[in-house]
């Protein structure tokens, strides 16, 4: 840039810039350093702490796990670490089932969120401008009340003497209340309801970019509206589908509050297991191992989807 403003011409700034330059740090590095530092302090460091606890053994003490280093009788340092906790997770069917069931519940919820969210996103994206803003506002509106309140509201609907059962009974459609609370069904409802906006918004962002001329071109070339959807709209909205699905699937795997409040005793999800292990059994090492494994379970699908996307963009 020619000229430059008063700030960059002032002497102290020039001195600082010169010093930073001498250290081999460019302005670009400096800008990136801020988020990097944030991630380091608040994500990577806790992750290593967690990893270190997962290698320890539970003891009754404070903190409730064995130290990593111990001074041996001959004065030497010993590192105490074992993969015992991970072996335990693998062997105990409870954890395996909890993981599988979490993935399954997250997967089913994601599919339903997609099936419900896609038409909504499509409708909003195709709506005329003033109406579009209003519809988007309605999608975001639930965020203005507490998430817990909204889950409690669902309890009011799903209870045996809740709104749904009372209505159906007074209409004479059923004789006795349907058991909806404390079932997997209620958990699905809760997750799909809660995470639906996260599906709709990326899909909407993608679908508004869809060029209407492409749909006309497809129709012009003899494609019915249905065929146009499957050959043009759907493939072009794949990035939106992937983004939305990740935003629903990932938090749904680790969901704790919804299965705890809406689910039954046999709704097995890893978030609850983690809670029980940590606060119930006070077994921090096993809880940490559970968390680490879950992290990898979540990261794996992201990596896979990322690589699929990259390949699509290259090809």
């Amino acid at each position: 840039m020619s000229g430059g403003n008063a700030l960059t011409r002032s002497a102290p700034w020039r001195g600082t810039a010169w010093a930073i330059g001498k250290l081999g740090i460019s302005g670009r590095t400096l800008v990136i350093a801020i988020p990097m530092l944030w991630l380091l302090v608040f994500f990577l460091a806790p992750f290593f702490v967690l990893g270190r606890i997962s290698l320890a053994e539970a003891i009754i003490a404070r903190p409730p796990y064995t130290p990593l280093f111990e001074r041996g009788p001959d004065g030497s340092f010993e590192i105490i670490a074992s993969l015992e906790n991970y072996r335990f997770l693998l062997e105990d069917a409870l954890y395996r089932n909890a993981y599988l069931s979490s993935i399954w519940i997250a997967l089913v919820s994601t599919i339903f969120a997609l099936l419900i969210g896609y038409p909504i996103a499509y409708y909003i994206a195709r709506a005329p401008e003033p109406k579009r803003s209003l519809l988007l506002l309605m999608v975001i509106l639930p965020f203005w009340t507490s998430f817990l309140l909204r889950v409690y509201a669902w309890m009011g609907f799903l209870r045996s003497n809740g709104v749904i059962n009372n209505t159906l009974m007074s209409l004479g459609l059923i004789d006795s209340p349907i058991q909806m609370m404390q079932t997997d069904f209620a958990v699905y409802i809760g997750i799909v309801y809660t995470y639906l906006p996260f599906m709709i918004l990326p899909l909407y962002a993608n679908l508004t970019k869809l060029d209407g001329a492409l749909l006309e071109a497809a129709a012009d070339l003899g494609a019915s509206p249905m065929v146009t959807f499957f050959t043009v709209t759907l493939p072009l909205s794949l990035p939106g589908i992937v983004a939305g699905s990740m935003l629903v699937f990932i938090p749904a795997i680790g969901e704790y509050v919804i299965p705890a409040l809406l689910g039954g005793p046999d709704t097995l999800m890893i978030g609850r297991v983690l809670w029980d292990e940590f606060f119930g059994s006070r077994d921090w090492p096993v809880a940490s191992a559970v968390a680490i494994v879950m992290l990898f379970l979540v990261v794996a699908p992201i990596m896979w989807l990322q690589s699929v996307q990259n390949k699509r963009e290259e090809g």
Binding site: L214, E216, A218, G222, A223, V232, L236
Partner: protein
Amino acid sequence: MAQPATACETKPWRSEAAKPFISVRNIVKRFDDFTAVSNVDLDIYKGELFCLLGESGCGKSTLLRMLAGFEQPTSGTITIDGEDMARVPPDRRPTNMMFQSYALFPHMSVEKNVAYGLLREGLPKAEAYARVAEMLRMVKLEKLARRKPDQLSGGQRQRVALARALVKKPKLLLLDEPLGALDKKLREETQFELIKIQESLGVTFIVVTHDQDEAMTLATRIGVMKDGVIEQIGEPREIYEAPNSRFVADFIGSVNLFEGKVDAAAPDLMRIETEELGAVLLPPQSGLTFGQPVWGAVRPERFALSRSKPENTPNAWQGVVEEMGYIGHMSHYRIRLDTGVLIRASQSNRLRDEDPISWDEKVWISLQPSAFRVLTR
């Protein structure tokens, strides 16, 4: 193939008996309170390359979109090859469209884009791709069949769009500003390529354009549109030489317009009394009444310039060359008449050693009676 022998065969619109292939009757299209197309009647014949010419917002694209079926006319009928199109959705029409933005499917290769329409017809894959290959050879894209649209240049994309629309062998091909996105040189080359393709396939084309040179070069006939109305339909020569209104005269090419009144002089001579030129003597024309306000349109090249008073015409005026532009094959002049009027005239530079008329020279400008086109609106 037998060569068409008479003008009636190559120019069916000249014959009363010829049956139009596409006929548009009293078409009106309103968007809320805006009338985009108002009461248009249009007959287009098989094998024509018809250009709808007009400025943006004149309704030409709306008319094209109604032919394709993307817009429903508010009233009126469209018939293509004897079939009423009123209830026919775009995917069932015997038309294909080449979009201004090309609208190529970005997730499909060139080959798949072109095959798209054929596969929708239910053509077997092998046959469809054989036809695609043939089409791509015709537009010289066979080497790029596996590329994606974003790996192509503008000119290549334009040819993919053309191939995709043509491969279905439509009865009618609609082209919305087909050359609009190309640079000048490529546009001129492509114009003739387009005509060649159109002639070899015998498909009827309707081209929408705002570029008058393009319309003049491509078209068998031109429809000049303004404010939702077709002002004049005619062959390029007719539109240029015999415009029916001041708008058309001014829109196509360059023109000098004069305002005047009809004033009879002698039985075999009509006089137009103009403000700018004074009296202009012409052979009498039917349809004009004494005292009627009229306008005269004269193309710049229809004026003759000379240093001495011309003998062969009574319509001559004296003036001074105020500006002159030499552009090689032609020279453009602006001549200030003694009455103060500025006239645009041009001369073709036919002789190399000519001593050309230049700045500040006093010259005579004259016109033959046929050069003065009398307009009533």
